[in-house]
Structures are given as C-alpha cells and as structure tokens.
C-alpha cells in the first residue's frame, strides 16, 4: 500500500474556475445571511466581481500558458492550453454581459424572474409572493455555478472531470430555465424538456467515456491518444468499431450542448420558454463552452485515430454539419416568433461552427474561437434587445415580451437606437461585411476549404444566403413596415409544435393579458404562445442601465471586430493551440 501523498496543487491554474465557483458558494451563503433588501446588490457585485476576477485570472495566466504551451494540476484533472484559456476568456466575458442583462429590472421595476419559482403557477401563493415583491436572487449563484462548469468544461484532460463539468454547467441551467416571471408553465415545460433530453445526452456521453476506458484503460485524453496511436496497440486494429462508437457517443453529448442537428430538438422550445436573459446567457456562453470542449476532446481524440477511423469521424461531422445548417436555416425561415427564430439562428451557427471544425486542426480551432466571440456578442445583444420589447395591456400595464414577429413592425420608428443595434446584430449573424459575423464566417469557411472540405463551405455559403432572408426580413419589418396596432394574422403558420393532438395549452394561464385568447384547445403549448401574441399593444421599456451597457458593448464589439479585427485575430491565432505539447 502506498502512503497517501497530498498532491501538489498549482492554485493559479485553477483560479479562473475557482474564483467563480467560490463566489457561487459565497452567493449561497449570502442568500442565507444577508437581509432580503440588500441581497440583490450584494449578489450582483459578487457575481460581476467574480466574473471579472476570472477574466483577470485568465489574463494573468496567459503569458505563462502561451510560453509553456500548457499548465495543469494533478495529472491533468485541470489542464490549460492557450485554446482553453481563449474559450475561458470568451465565456467569462459573455457571462459578464449576460449577468448585466439578467440584472436589469427595466423601467417596470420587475426583472424577468418569478417572485418565487417554487410557487405553483396561478395559485394564491404566487399572487401573494408577487404582491410582496419577492425576488429570486438565487439566480446569481446559479449563474455562477453554471459559468464555473462552463469554464471547467474545456479545461480538463480527464473525461470524468469533463462529465462533471457538463453536469455542473447543466443543472443550474435546468433550474434557471424554469424561473420565468411570465408564461411560467411554458418556462417550466422548457426546463423539464431540457432536463430530460440533457440527461439523455449526458448518458450517451457517459457511455462513450466508458467505451474509451474500455478500449484504452484510461480516462485521460492524452494517455488514451498515446495508447491509441501506439503502433503496437491492438485496439485500433482489433476493435475499431468500439473506438469510433466511443468517439461518436462522446460527440453526441457535446453536439447536444451546442445544439447541432439531429440533437437540436430541445433548442427552440427551451430558448423560447426560458426567461430571455437566461436564453441570452445560454445561447452565448453554453455554446462557447461546449464548442471549446468539443475542440479539446474531439480534436485530441482524432489525433489518436488511424486514417479510416478519422475519415469515419469526419463523415459524421459532415453529416451533422450539413443537417444542422439545413435545419437551422430552413426552419428558421418559417418562424414567426423572434425568440424561436433566434434559436434556429443559433442552430444554424452551430452548423457553421462545425464547418470550421471539420479539419480537426489548429486552423479550425482559430476560426472557432473567433466565431464564438463574434456569434456570442451578436446573439447576446439580440436577446438583450428582445427583453426590452414588451406587450402592454389596455390599462398600460407592461406585460411580457412581444415576441411575435408582427409585433416588431415599425420598431425602427418607435425606438431607432434599439432597432439599429438589433439590425446590427442581425447583420452580423447574417455575415454582412464590416461586421464581426462576416469575418467569422469567412474564417470558418476558409478553414473548411483549407481542410479540403470545400463542398461544406459551399453549402455553408448557400445556407448563409437563406439565413440572410430571415435576418433581413426582421430588419425590413422593423424599419420599413409601419407598426400595426391591431395585428392581423400575417399569413405565416406559426412554427414549432403544431401537433393536432398536442398538449393542452396550459402554458398560458398565468400569462397576463392572454386570457382573451381564442381556441385554447388542440394546439401545442408553444404554438398557442404565438397565436395569442400580437394581440396586445407593443411598448419598448427603458433599461435601468445594465442591459443598455450590454447591448452597447455587444454592438461596439460587433462593429470593431468587423472593422479592426487585427488584434483579436492575432489573439485567436496565438490561442489556436488546443493540445498541450505533451504533459
């Protein structure tokens, strides 16, 4: 028996993750000990401070990791590479902006979250909580835990830690999704679906990890790769199917998180149902973290595969990329709900990211890093704008978000600045030159061409063209179409759930201002939301400040990345090294 030796721990390497997780723990204590009135401010300061601290930690580690090529603790349980740090920086930055959107209570004085998420929707208890002005400040520690998980997700060599990170980031999100102040049943339904499907994907990934262990007798990525690549190794020759199954199953878990087809089905429903600030946070940060983990894990594993297996993996990526772009753009083009449209847009972007990845090399890693930053800024900004466009009932009470596209008509006249910012985000997502999105797409497609995957690049360009349609349609709607107070059906069948025998429309009983809705039965819950939308008047509420700051930062970022991208491109090039030189 060996004597137990306390491991040497390099705390600096842990710091980006540790700061955030520790702040999350402190946040829980704050909930317990700080008086209710002060909690929000304390939580907010703590959260923003922790995320900023994480960014600082990343910056401090930067030179060291760049010089050494890696930094790790305890056999790579946490392992930093330049690419990992790059992803962590992007995640922390986007999370910081996301928290700003979450914190904003707008001119209505209400944030996007239920007074007490535990209350059953429509009960007297819920009313009482609302009357009492309760607020759910636990969202801040929850966000910190989720962010901690995201920071850890790409920062490990150990597949078990990878799985733990996945769960650490996912579980708080499941809860957060269920906390919407309005349309609470929709929110809870979304959270439950996300949880069920997320668990399913986690299980598949865990199975994949088990198969890796079965094939190589290790859960360390680098060790597994070196064993697979060992010329004397019998694994690849004797059990190629086992290896490719392992790689594919792990990929499924990651692809699920980035919302790639056919593992995307949760995305529209969850993005629509979740409180919009949380949607913004998820769409930007989770995708960045998951794609980071994917580059780390998949690219590394691919290095251990022999030629036929590598080709199998690439085939799989091709299929997923094509499917994802197709689903994202085609289904996005027929949406009538702005949140759902943005959800499909994010699916399409997952497809473009996969196009960048098919080379499984550093060119792809660099393109991916720039892409998630450009995409994250635009998406977060866009959802932040959505939080400010609200419905209003006849008494002038501001209700939930006005998400039906027809309600956005004429927004440019009502609120030119907001419409300008939103147009900017849409143009960036569409990949119009002089915005970040153009360079991001250019980088992604040229990475694919460099890897010899020009058909994918062609399909990507075609998909982009189709995507331009629904982005620009929204701009046209905002800028050129006069606002319609009594919105008629715009002739487009609502997207999403149209099952004739769908679930009852219980999602809306709590939604203020929707009681006068027609034909409640026989429509899917999500459809009903859109069918009922477009009734109330539309109003743009003023931000208290944080959301405005977030939107401004995103807009400026999108423009700067589009016009003077050199510094960031240099940075992403430096950060393209996704593998340690050899631990």
């Amino acid at each position: 028996m060996n004597e137990f030796v306390a491991p040497e721990i390099d705390w600096a390497v842990l710091s980006p993750v540790l700061v955030v997780l520790a702040a999350g723990v402190v946040g829980v204590l704050v909930e317990a000990f700080v008086p209710a009135r002060a909690r929000r401010v304390v939580q907010l300061v703590l959260t923003l401070g922790a995320l900023a601290g994480s960014l600082v930690a990343v910056a401090l580690l930067w030179d060291r990791v760049l010089t050494d090529g890696l930094a790790f603790v305890v056999d790579g349980t946490v392992l930093l590479t330049p690419f990992t740090l790059g992803i962590q920086a992007v995640v922390a930055l986007l999370a910081l902006l996301g928290v700003l959107v979450v914190a904003d209570r707008t001119s209505t004085g209400q944030d996007a979250f239920a007074p007490t998420a535990a209350a059953v929707p429509g009960t007297a208890y819920e009313d009482a909580a609302r009357q009492a002005g309760l607020q759910q400040t636990e969202i801040y520690p929850l966000m910190l835990f989720a962010t901690g998980g995201m920071l850890l997700f790409p920062a490990t060599d150990n597949l078990i830690v990878l799985f733990i990170a996945l769960e650490v980031l996912s579980l708080p999100l499941y809860v957060l999704c269920a906390t919407a102040r309005r349309r609470r049943l929709l929110s809870q339904e979304a959270a439950f679906k996300y949880f069920l499907l997320g668990s399913f994907a986690s299980a598949l990934m865990l199975f994949g990890i088990a198969l890796v262990y079965g094939a190589t007798a290790t859960v360390s990525l680098e060790l597994a790769v070196s064993r697979l690549a060992n010329p004397d190794s019998p694994v690849l020759t004797m059990m190629p199917d086992l290896v490719i199954a392992a790689v594919l199953l792990i990929s499924v878990g990651l692809l699920f998180k980035i919302g790639a087809a056919p593992f995307h089905t949760w995305t529209p429903d969850v993005y629509q149902g979740a409180p919009t600030p949380i949607t913004a946070f998820m769409a930007a940060c989770v995708k960045a973290a998951a794609i980071g983990a994917m580059v780390r894990v998949l690219f590394t594993l691919a290095a251990g595969l022999d030629e036929p297996l590598r080709r199998d993996l690439e085939t799989g990526l091709w299929v997923v990329a094509i499917l994802t772009m197709l689903v994202g753009t085609a289904a996005g083009a027929v949406q009538t709900d702005v949140k759902r449209m943005l959800a499909y847009s994010s699916i399409a972007h997952a497809g473009f990211l996969l196009v960048a990845m098919v080379g499984l090399d550093e060119v792809g890693a660099q393109a991916v890093l720039f892409y998630v930053l450009a995409y994250g800024l635009a998406t977060l900004g866009a959802f932040a704008v959505v939080t400010l466009v609200r419905e209003q009932d006849a008494d002038g009470v501001v209700l939930g978000e006005a998400t039906h596209l027809s309600q956005w008509a004429g927004l440019g006249r009502r609120s030119p600045l907001l419409a300008t910012a939103f147009s900017l985000f849409l143009l960036s997502m569409a990949g119009i030159p002089l915005t970040a999105g153009f360079l991001a797409k250019f980088g992604a497609f040229s990475a694919a061409v460099e890897a010899g995957a020009w058909p994918l690049a062609v399909i990507g360009v075609l998909a982009s063209i189709v995507a331009v349609f629904f982005y620009v349609r929204l701009i046209v709607l905002m800028v050129l179409t006069p606002p319609v107070e009594e919105t008629a059906d715009d002739g487009v069948t609502p997207a999403g759930a149209v099952a004739a025998d769908g679930t009852p429309d219980d999602g809306f009983r709590d939604g203020e201002g929707v009681e006068d809705g027609p034909e409640p039965a026989r429509t899917g819950t999500l459809t009903a939301a859109r069918a009922l939308a477009g009734r109330a008047a539309v109003v743009v509420v003023a931000s208290q400040g944080p959301t405005a700051v977030a939107i401004t930062v995103c807009a400026v970022g999108v423009v700067l990345l589009g016009i003077v991208p050199a510094a960031v491109l240099d940075w992403t090039t430096q950060a393209a090294a996704f593998r340690p030189f050899g631990p």
């Binding site: 490719i244 593992f263 299929v319 069948t493 099952a499």
Partner: protein
Amino acid sequence: MTTQTLSLAPWLVATPLIGAALLLLIGRRGDRWGHWLGVLASTATFVIGLVILLDMLGVDAEQRVATSSVGTWIDAGPLTVDLGFQLDPLSMTFVMLVTFVGTLIHVYSVAYMSHDHDRRRFFAYLNLFVAAMLLLVLADNYLLLFVGWEGVGLASYLLIGFWDHHLPNAVAGKKAFLMNRVGDMGLIVAMMLMLATFGALDFGTVLGSADAADQGLNTAIGLMLLLAACGKSAQLPLQAWLGDAMAGPTPVSALIHAATMVTAGVYLLVRSGPLLEAAPDAQLVIAIVGALTLLFGAVVGCAKDDIKKALAASTMSQIGYMMLAAGLGPIGYAFAIFHLVTHGFFKAGLFLGAGSVMHGMDDDVDMRRFGGLWRLLPVTWITMGFGWLAILGVPPFSGFWSKDKIIEAAFVGEGWRPWVFGTVALVGAGITAYYMSRLFFMTFAGRRRWSADGADGTVERHPHESPLLMTVPMVVLALGSVGLGWVLAAGDGFVHWLEPVTGHAEHDEPVLAVPVIIGLTLTLVVVGAALAWVQYATRAVPTTAPPAPALVRAARVDLHQDDVNETLVMRPGQYLTRSMVFADRTAVDAGWLGLAGGVGRLGSWLRGWQSGYARQYAAITLGGLGVIVLVIWLVATTAG
C-alpha cells in the same frame, strides 16, 4: 499675370456658388430680398472677372495663359487630378460673356419673375448655373470640367422644370436631362480613353501629347467629345430637347438655352482643338454635324409659330454654324468663338425681347395672334430689331462680322468640302433671314390679330411696354448686337486675342473670292427677308396654321425628331427593358422563388418534427445518431 490675380480665379466659381447656397438655405425668410442677393453675387462675379481680364490685357500675349491650382483634388496613385483653374483668353472670353449677359438677365428676371412666389429659388438656381458654367470654362482638366458640365445640366434641368406644377414642363425638364445624359456618357468615355491613352486628364498633358498618340484613338476621343457636345449644344442627333426646354421661364431660355450653356459643346471642341487636329476624321464628322444641324434648325425655324420655339430652332441653327466652324480646324476656332460671343448678345437680346412681348401679351407665345405690336412696345420693337438685323448678318451689325467669317472659312479648302460646306452655310444664311424676318414681322408688323375688346373672334390682349428693369438689359444687349461685332473684328483683334489658345491660322483664300461670298450672302439675306415681308407683313396672316405642303407640316413638328427618337431608341429600349424584366421574372425570380419555396416547404416539414413532446425529441436524437452511424458505415464501405 500677377499671382494675386490668379488667386482670384477660384472666387469666380465660389462667389455665385455661395450666393446659390445662401439663397437655398435661407428659406422663405429671404423671399423679399433674395433676388437682389442673386443679382449682387452675379455682379460681383462679373467684377472679379473684369479685374482678371484687365490684368490679362496688360501682359503680353504669350503670358496670358496661366493655371492656378487650389490643391490636389484626387490623388489615386499614378493619377492625380488638381483642383486647377485655367486662365487664358478663351476661358476669360466665356467668363465675361457668362457674367455680363448673366448679370443683365438676373436684373431682367427681378421684374420678369416678380409675381412668382418662388423667385428666390429661381435666383438660387440662376446663381448655381453661373457657378457651374464658370467651373466648366475655368477647369484646367477634363474631370473638373465634367463637374461643371454636370452642374449646368442640373441647373438647366431645375430651371426648365421650374414651373413643374404644370406636367409638360416637368416632362420637358426630364427630356432635356435624359438626352444630355447620352452626351455625358460620351464625355465619360472620352475621359476613359484619355486615361488609357495619356494617363492624365489635364489639358496640358492630353492636348500636349495628342500629336504623338495613335490617330485611331484620337479619332475615338474626338468622336466621343463630339457626342458630348451634341448633347449639350443640341446638335444632331441629340437636338430634340432644346425646343421643349423653352418650357422654362424666358430669362432661362435667354441665358442658358441661347447665350451660354448650349454653347458649352462648342467650347469643349475648341478647347480640345490640338487633339482634334490629330484626328481629321473626327473633324470632318464635326463639320458635317454642324452643317446638318444648321440646316435642320433653319428649316424647323421657318415653320414654328411659337415665338420661343422659333428662337430655339434658330439657336440650334446658329450653334450649327459654330460647330461647322469648329470642325474646320484652327481656321475656324476663333470664328466659332467670335460668333458664339456675338450670338450670345443678340440671341439673349431676342429672347429677352420675346419675354417682353409675352409679358405684354398675357404670356401668349403664338405669333399668329400677335401683329402690329411695334407701336405699343417701342423699346422691345427697336431692341429686337437690332437683334434681328444682327442675326441676319446685315452689316454693320455684329452678326455680320462673325457669321460672314464662318461662311468664308467654310469655302476654304480643297476638293468637295468647301463647295458643300460653303453652300450649306450660304443657304443657311438665306433661310435664317427668312425665318427671323418672319418672326419679326409676324410679331411687330402687319395687322393686329388681337384686339383690346376681343371683338371679331380675336383674342383679347392689352399689350404694354415692360418696366425699366426689363427694358434696360434689353437696351444694353441691343447695343452689343449693334456694335460688338465691329469692335471685336477691328484689326482682327478678337482673333489675335484668342491666338494663344487656338493657335495662329494661316489665312487661306476661299475657293470663291471674298467679295463674291459677301455679295451672295447679302443677296440671299435680302431675298429671304423680302419674302418674309411679302408673306407676313403685307398679307393677312391666318390666326391658325393653314394647310401646308408636306415639308412645312414636317417642320412644324420638328421634322419628326421625336418620332425618330421614339422609333429608333425609345421603343427598342422599352422592348429591351420589357424583355429583361420578363427574363428577370421568369428565369431569375422564378429560380429564387423556387429556392425560397423549397426552403419554406423544407422548413414547414421540419417544423412538423418539432412536436413539443420530449419523447419524440429523444427519439429524434437516438434515430439521428443511428442515421449518422448508417451514413458513416455506407461511406466507409463504398470508399473501400
């Protein structure tokens, strides 16, 4: 010339431009005094021009050519274009013509437009025109010239359609603008060719190296410049807009569509003289265009009953003379410009006279309802009379000195050319005498075809002489019509004045003796005038156009110029655009709509999978994984 004088050059353009800007920006507040600001800007420009002119007259002929650069305008690698001004006898001649006649017409307009509530805007456009025209003639490179070229086109468009509440006026403005675009394309192509050939656009480089360039290229550039000149100067085949341009207020017709802007084409060709001399074929085409147009305008002028349109046809014909002269080479350049200057005076005077007549006749323009006005409008009658004698070329009025020189020059040369061009010029002079006398007699002589009480089915009119603000400019211009030709011709003064630019031309003898030519010309003029006297002063003039032979009927509708344009250009153009639209709809749009429809159907189909049931989503996840595995397996097996 002193540097101080040179530094004044930009102010020639800036002064009226500032005037225009102020008048436009000041808005309705300036309605009461804005017109005087316009007059002031124009006068100040004239004074600046005069200062430069006096300075220029004080130096030797060789030193009269100078350029003054404000700075670099375009710096694009190998190509640099200066914001430079060319000061030489040619440009100063134009400056004096434009500012002097322009100022007189500004003054005239104060009274003429006094009842128009948009008078301030009118003066803003007039100032804008002066600025653009001066930029056109002062530019020291083709590109800057082009800015002025477009500027005068814009001003012309704005002023033709000034009364755009009446649809035909707006249409006339559009017609002028569009036809000028055709010519502008010529100038643009010419500049492209210059860039390709000489690598520069400034007069110095282009004209200085034209000799060494390929003759074919020179010819191409020359023809493109001719196309530009045809558009701006209403020469065949781009002449059709000028008649309609009479829709603008009469002072506009006088200044822009008679005295100055329409002569810009002649300026362009004379300015490009050295290049044209290296392109004899282009020169020949220029002469032919000029000869054809001078006949065309003359024939049309004989049949027009609208006093302004008759004058417009005459303008076209007289510019034809200038064009013909410009096509004759160095021998003709000076005479082209000479005639341009005298024409600027007498034609502006005639137009202002016509405006005065209209002023007295309730804005009627139909000469068949005029007659016997000499007694009631004495100042108008006398000033127009001088203009009439001048355009007829009766000695010693100014037109004689300039037009006769062109006719003489047309008879110079070898082979068939002097006989053809000379004869055309000669016959043109006779026809000119006829139609201008017709105009003059129909208006002032003969029986009154109107009455003060509207009796006997005649129109009711109360003719009266115009106010001093209108008659004084008319008198000044009439004095020019009388004496300017003689003054400038004395000792060949004007020809020598232009020599630094046009070059010295050897005096070749015409194929007919000069006295013979003069004699023939004067005979034809007298015959033409007498014919008109008999027809329109002694006999009764029907108040509606009588039936007439085919040629007259054709001339009344401008020799079917609009029909020709419509048949040759407009209809084929419409068919072309229609077929393009058709192709766009059926092929291009259909393709895109098909794609869009496909995407929409695919989207709707995909939406069907999005049922909202978690169980189905899980199934899709698992089934999707199965599909991926299947594809991988298929690809792996087929690949071997």
